[in-house]
């Protein structure tokens, strides 16, 4: 468990942007792993299995809060998106407590958590989970165009938030 707990927690926290919820999701992931322990004990794909379960549970958690969840709306206005950032500031403040904001990595994580949900989630799925645009659209039950737009907007906002961060040399 110790070998995978950081990876599982990271997968969850980047999607839900809430440390406490990510901790609960990680706990559920390891309880499920315990139920399948005989299958996973010597499996070389145990890490992948844990990551997939963490991703599914995090997405399930987010879809349960559908009322506050505008990802499925193709008509979210700019105003709503900005309001989402404001609402998200509380979560990000909580999230920032365990981040080293002096470090470059800490600042990127913090900026990522500040993105509105409808942009952060497809962006995380694309850049961290290696999912294609089509897979993301299928997973989030939205159109391919919306996924591309949201990822593009997310990148632009992330770049804006990180404008003072030094980029690693290419």
């Amino acid at each position: 468990m110790t070998a995978y707990q950081d990876m599982v927690f990271t997968t969850a926290v980047r999607l839900v942007a809430d440390t406490a919820e990510a901790q609960n999701i990680s706990q559920d992931v390891f309880l499920r792993a315990y139920l399948h322990f005989s299958d996973l004990e010597h499996s070389p794909t145990a890490g992948g299995w844990l990551k997939t379960v963490a991703r599914h549970l995090a997405l399930n958690h987010l879809s349960r809060h559908k009322k506050r969840w505008r990802l499925f709306s193709d008509y979210a206005t700019e105003e709503e998106a900005h309001r989402d950032i404001d609402q998200h500031a509380y979560v990000s403040d909580t999230l920032g407590q365990d981040l080293d904001l002096q470090s470059e990595h800490g600042r990127i994580e913090y900026a990522l958590a500040q993105l509105p949900k409808q942009e952060r989630i497809p962006l995380v799925l694309f850049h961290f989970e290696d999912m294609s645009y089509q897979d993301i659209a299928d997973t989030l039950h939205c159109s391919l165009g919306k996924v591309k737009t949201d990822i593009h907007r997310g990148r632009a906002k992330l770049a804006s938030l990180l404008s003072h961060t030094d980029w690693p040399a290419t």
Binding site: D6, F9, S26, Q27, F30, L31, D98, F128, A159, L162
Partner: protein
């Protein structure tokens, strides 16, 4: 540079590299403790307090069989029995008795059509949940009664042997 404008391919590539270079976040220290505590709690729980898939195979079979029997009885046997009652009450001659034999089938069909019509308005997951809850409750009572009987008979046997 206006970052809200179009990002060029190079910027996207650099952003991707920066994101991919992020190390894993450190999980809270209490996560391991919490998981182990929950596993320990679950391990000490009685089998009927655990998830259905962790029940003993025999108990699973009994529960599923009982649910199926209860379902069969409620949908088939009950209307048939009511119809037989009406045959006894009303059938006087042979022809009436013969035609009355078809009554149970009519009853079942009419009952089922009314039932299905009513059920169309109820969400399917409500019905499944209700059926599962009813079946579980029914079987829990039987199992509890059998466990109590077993416990008493065991205590009685020990008492007699000592």
């Amino acid at each position: 540079m206006n970052h809200s404008s179009e990002l060029d391919a190079l910027s996207v590539q650099r952003l991707h590299k920066a994101l991919r270079a992020l190390p894993n976040r450190q999980a809270p220290k209490q996560l391991t403790q919490q998981v182990l505590h929950t596993i320990e709690q679950q391990a000490h729980a009685s089998w009927w307090n655990q998830a259905f898939r962790r029940w003993p195979r025999g108990a699973q079979t009994v529960l599923i069989s009982a649910c199926l029997i209860a379902l069969s009885v409620s949908t088939v046997w009950s209307p048939w029995r009511f119809s037989l009652l009406s045959i006894r009450l009303h059938a006087t001659d042979g022809v009436t008795r013969l035609t009355s034999l078809l009554t149970p089938l009519d009853t079942i069909i009419s009952w089922q059509s009314v039932l299905l019509h009513a059920l169309e308005k109820v969400p399917m997951h409500w019905l499944i949940s209700f059926g599962s809850a009813l079946g579980t409750l029914y079987l829990s009572i039987i199992l509890l009664a059998s466990l109590i009987t077993q416990r008493f008979s065991h205590a009685h046997t020990i008492g007699r042997s000592t």
